[in-house]
C-alpha cells in the first residue's frame, strides 16, 4: 500500500524505515485512528487471526501488509503449525516476516494515554528512546534510568558499568484496565490503574518478570528469534500465557547474552477488560503450570557455546522437553514448536539478509 502524507504530523519520526508495527487483530482496526499522528509514518504488519474470509478494514493512509491464516499457511507450509490460531499469539508471525531492525507491537484495544500534565503520550517515541539508549542490568540504579534527562548514576555506581548494555526489549505499561489474571479480575472487577509512575528502569540480570505483549518494543536483530509467543488458543490447553512464555525465554537469553530489558514508560490506555470467566478457562492450566515453569526458568543455565539467540533458543527447547515434558504432554508439543519456529525464522531470515529480501506476500 502506498503511504499517504499526512500534513498534521509535526515531529520527524525516528527510525521510520527501521521499525515495523505489528498488530494482531480479529475484529477491526478502528483504534488506529487515534494513533494516526504517531503511527502513520511507519509500516504496519497486520496479522489477522480467526476467519481468513473476513475482511479487516484498515483505515486510509496507512502503509501496511496484512496476513491472514491462509497467508500464514502458504508462507510457512507445514511449519505453520507453530503459529497459534484463535489467539493473539499469532502476532509473532509478524515478527518473523518483518525485515526491519525494530518491532513495536500493540493490541487493538489500546489507545493513546495522557501523562499527568494532560499531554498525549507518544508511546512509540518513548519505546524508540528506550531501545536506542543502553540498559543497566548489572547493577541497580536507584534513580532508575540514568540516561534520562535530569537523571544520572548515583553515588556508588561503578564507572566501569556506566556504559550499560544494549537494550533488547522495551516493556511498556497500561493505565485504566490493568493486566491482571482472571482470579484477580474476578476479585477486583473495578480496579483501575491510575498511577502514572514516571520511570523507565532496567530489570536486573537474573530476575524474571511477566512480560505483557500489549505495548512492547524490541530490537528484532538482537532478540527477535526468542520472541516466539508459543502454542495458544484453538486446540491448545492454555491461553493468555503467550507473552509470558516469550518473556521468560527472552529474559533468560538476554541475561545470557548480556542484553538489557527495560520496563516502565510508556503508558498506553487499555480500554477493554476481557471477560474474566473466559479468561479463567484459558488461564486455568497456566495458573498451575506457572508454579513449575518459573522455577524452571529461574534455574536455566545456557552453555557458553550458545552464542546466538537461535542456539540459545534451541537449547532452551531441549531443556523444556527434558524438564517440563513430565508436567504435561503440551510441553513436548511446545518444545517441538519452538524448534519449528527457529527453523521457520532462519528460512525467512537467512543470515546477512535482515533488511534486503522481498516481502512474504
Amino acid at each position: 500500500m502506498a503511504s499517504k502524507e499526512s500534513p498534521s504530523v509535526p515531529i520527524t519520526p525516528l527510525l521510520k524505515d527501521e521499525l515495523d508495527i505489528v498488530i494482531p487483530t480479529i475484529r477491526n482496526l478502528d483504534f488506529l485512528e487515534m494513533w494516526r499522528p504517531f503511527f502513520q509514518p511507519y509500516h504496519l504488519i497486520i496479522v489477522q487471526d480467526g476467519d481468513p474470509s473476513k475482511t479487516i478494514n484498515v483505515p486510509e493512509g496507512f502503509d501496511y501488509e496484512l496476513y491472514n491464516r491462509n497467508d500464514i499457511n502458504r508462507i510457512l507450509g507445514p511449519k505453520a503449525n507453530c503459529i497459534s490460531f484463535k489467539d493473539s499469539a499469532c502476532r509473532c508471525f509478524g515478527y518473523m516476516v518483518s525485515k526491519k531492525k525494530y518491532i513495536y507491537t500493540i493490541d487493538d484495544d489500546c489507545f493513546v494515554a495522557k501523562d499527568p500534565s494532560g499531554k498525549e503520550i507518544n508511546a512509540l517515541e518513548q519505546h524508540i528512546k528506550n531501545l536506542l539508549c543502553p540498559a543497566t542490568p548489572f547493577f541497580f540504579n536507584t534513580l532508575y534510568d540514568p540516561y534520562r534527562e535530569g537523571a544520572d548514576f548515583v553515588r556508588g555506581y561503578p564507572f566501569s558499568l556506566r556504559e550499560g548494555a544494549p537494550t533488547a526489549v522495551s516493556h511498556g505499561l497500561w493505565l485504566n484496565i490493568p493486566d491482571y489474571d482472571a482470579p484477580t479480575q474476578l476479585v477486583k472487577p473495578r480496579e483501575r490503574n491510575e498511577r502514572y509512575v514516571d520511570a523507565v528502569l532496567t530489570i536486573p540480570k537474573g530476575t524474571l518478570f511477566p512480560m505483557c505483549g500489549m505495548n512492547l518494543g524490541f530490537n528484532r536483530e538482537l532478540i527477535g528469534p526468542a520472541m516466539y509467543f508459543g502454542l495458544m488458543g484453538d486446540g491448545q490447553p492454555i491461553g493468555r500465557y503467550d507473552d509470558m512464555w516469550a518473556g521468560w525465554c527472552v529474559k533468560v537469553i538476554c541475561d545470557h547474552l548480556g542484553l538489557g530489558v527495560k520496563t516502565g514508560l510508556p503508558y498506553i490506555w487499555h480500554s477493554k477488560a476481557s471477560n474474566p470467566f473466559v479468561n479463567l478457562k484459558k488461564e486455568y492450566n497456566g495458573i498451575f503450570w506457572q508454579e513449575e515453569m518459573i522455577p524452571f526458568f529461574q534455574a536455566v543455565v545456557l552453555p557458553k557455546e550458545c552464542s546466538t539467540v537461535q542456539k540459545c533458543y534451541i537449547e532452551l527447547s531441549k531443556q523444556v522437553r527434558e524438564k517440563l515434558g513430565k508436567i504435561d504432554p503440551y510441553f513436548n508439543k511446545l518444545a517441538d514448536a519452538m524448534v519449528t519456529w527457529i527453523e521457520a525464522w532462519d528460512e525467512l531470515n537467512p543470515s546477512g539478509a535482515a533488511n534486503g529480501t522481498a516481502k512474504g506476500k
Binding site: S160, V197, P204, L208
Partner: protein, 349 residues
C-alpha cells in the same frame, strides 16, 4: 501478612554533623514529634548542639561512644556516627534522615511524611523473587499482574527501606563536577522491591530498617583514607548497604527502594572539586567492591545477621585484603562491630 508497626517500636536516628538542629527539627516536627529521637553528635564536632523543645530525645556524644566502645576500634566520626545510634537503640525499627534534608512535596503539592512511608514499606511484604511490573502490589490501586506466580504472592518481610531525594540527588563527586546544576525534579510515584541477587548502592541519607533483624549488617566498615564530612566524600553507606543486601538475600528477606522522597538542600558547588580529591579513592574501590559483593555466597549455617557479617568479613580479608589495606580495616571493623553489637546486647529489643 501485613502487620502494624507501633510508634513505640520506632527510633528516629539523627546524626548531627552541624551543631544547630533547630530549624531542621522544627521543620520536621509534624512528622517526628510522635517518635523518640536518638541524636548522635559527630565526635569531631566540638560545639554544643542546639535542639528545640518539644522532642522526646536523647543525645549521644563522644563520651558515650568511648564508654560503649571500651577499647573497640570502631571509628564513629562523620557520617559513621549514625551507626552508634543504631547500636544504642533498643527499638525494633530505625528511621534515619540526614540533617541537610527537608520534607519534600509530592506531585499534588502535599508534604510527604517519610517516616510514615518507611513504616508502610517495612510493614508490608517485599517481593524479591519475581519482578512485578506494577511495582508494589500491596499499595492501594495495584496488585500482582498476570503471570505472577500465586505461590510468591505472600511476599517476605521487608527489612530495609531505601528512600530517595529531590533537588540534590545523591551523586558522587565526579558527576557533580560534570553536572553542577542538575537537580532531581522527577517524583517517581513507586516503591519497588530490589530483586534477590541484584546489588544496588544504598544511600544512608533517607532509610528505614528492621534493627532487630538487620542491625548488625549495617556496619561502619569502609572508611576512605581522605574521608570527609559530606556524603559524596564517603562510601561507608554504600559498603554497608551492599553488606545488608547480601544478608537480606541470604535470610530470605526483602529490600525496597523508591518512596519516600526527602528534599535535599543545595550545597556550594565549588566544593565538588575538593570532594573529588577525598572521594576519588572510593570511586576506584567500587570497581573491586561491587564484583566482590556480587560473588558472596553465605553458608547455610549463617542464620543471623551477626553470623553473616562475620562470614563476609572473613571473605573480605581473604579476597580483598591483599588489594588495599582499607579492606583489611573494613574486615576488622566488621568483626569488631559484631562483637560490640553482642556486648552491648543490642539485639535484645
Amino acid at each position: 501478612m501485613s502487620m502494624k508497626i507501633e510508634d513505640s517500636e520506632v527510633d528516629i536516628v539523627i546524626a548531627a554533623l552541624c551543631p544547630n538542629l533547630t530549624s531542621f527539627l522544627e521543620e520536621w516536627q509534624p512528622f517526628f514529634s510522635r517518635f523518640h529521637l536518638i541524636i548522635v553528635k559527630d565526635p569531631d564536632l566540638e560545639d554544643d548542639l542546639q535542639i528545640p523543645a518539644g522532642f522526646d530525645h536523647q543525645v549521644y556524644s563522644k563520651s558515650d561512644m568511648e564508654r560503649a566502645l571500651s577499647g573497640s576500634s570502631i571509628n564513629f566520626s562523620g557520617h559513621s556516627c549514625h551507626y552508634f545510634g543504631y547500636l544504642i537503640s533498643r527499638k525494633k525499627y530505625i528511621i534515619s534522615i540526614d540533617d541537610d534534608c527537608h520534607p519534600a512535596r509530592d506531585n499534588s503539592g502535599a508534604l510527604v511524611d517519610p517516616v510514615a512511608q518507611h513504616i508502610t514499606n517495612l510493614q508490608t511484604p517485599a517481593t524479591p523473587f519475581f519482578f512485578n511490573t506494577l511495582y508494589d502490589p500491596f499499595c492501594q490501586g495495584a496488585d500482582f499482574v498476570r503471570g505472577y506466580p500465586f505461590s510468591l504472592r505472600n511476599g517476605v518481610d521487608c527489612i530495609l527501606s531505601c528512600g530517595l531525594w529531590l533537588n540534590l540527588a545523591d551523586y558522587d563527586a565526579p558527576t557533580q563536577i560534570v553536572k553542577p546544576n542538575e537537580r532531581n525534579t522527577r517524583y517517581v510515584d513507586a516503591v519497588m522491591t530490589v530483586p534477590i541477587r541484584a546489588m544496588m548502592p544504598m544511600s544512608g541519607i533517607n532509610i528505614g530498617f528492621n534493627r532487630e533483624v538487620l542491625g548488625p549488617a549495617l556496619v561502619p566498615g569502609l572508611r576512605l583514607v581522605g574521608e570527609g564530612k559530606r556524603r559524596w566524600e564517603t562510601v561507608e553507606d554504600i559498603w554497608s548497604g551492599m553488606c545488608a543486601k547480601v544478608v537480606c538475600d541470604h535470610l530470605g528477606c526483602g529490600v525496597k527502594s523508591g518512596l519516600p522522597y526527602v528534599w535535599r538542600k543545595d550545597v556550594d558547588a565549588g566544593n565538588a572539586m575538593e570532594s573529588l580529591k577525598k572521594e576519588w579513592e572510593g570511586v576506584k574501590l567500587m570497581e573491586e567492591i561491587v564484583p566482590f559483593f556480587q560473588s558472596v555466597r553465605l553458608p547455610a549455617s549463617a542464620i543471623t545477621a551477626e553470623d553473616c557479617v562475620v562470614a563476609i568479613a572473613g571473605m573480605v580479608r581473604e579476597k580483598l585484603g591483599t588489594l588495599n589495606p582499607v579492606y583489611v580495616q573494613a574486615a576488622n571493623a566488621m568483626e569488631a562491630w559484631v562483637k560490640l553489637w553482642k556486648a552491648v546486647g543490642s539485639s535484645k529489643v
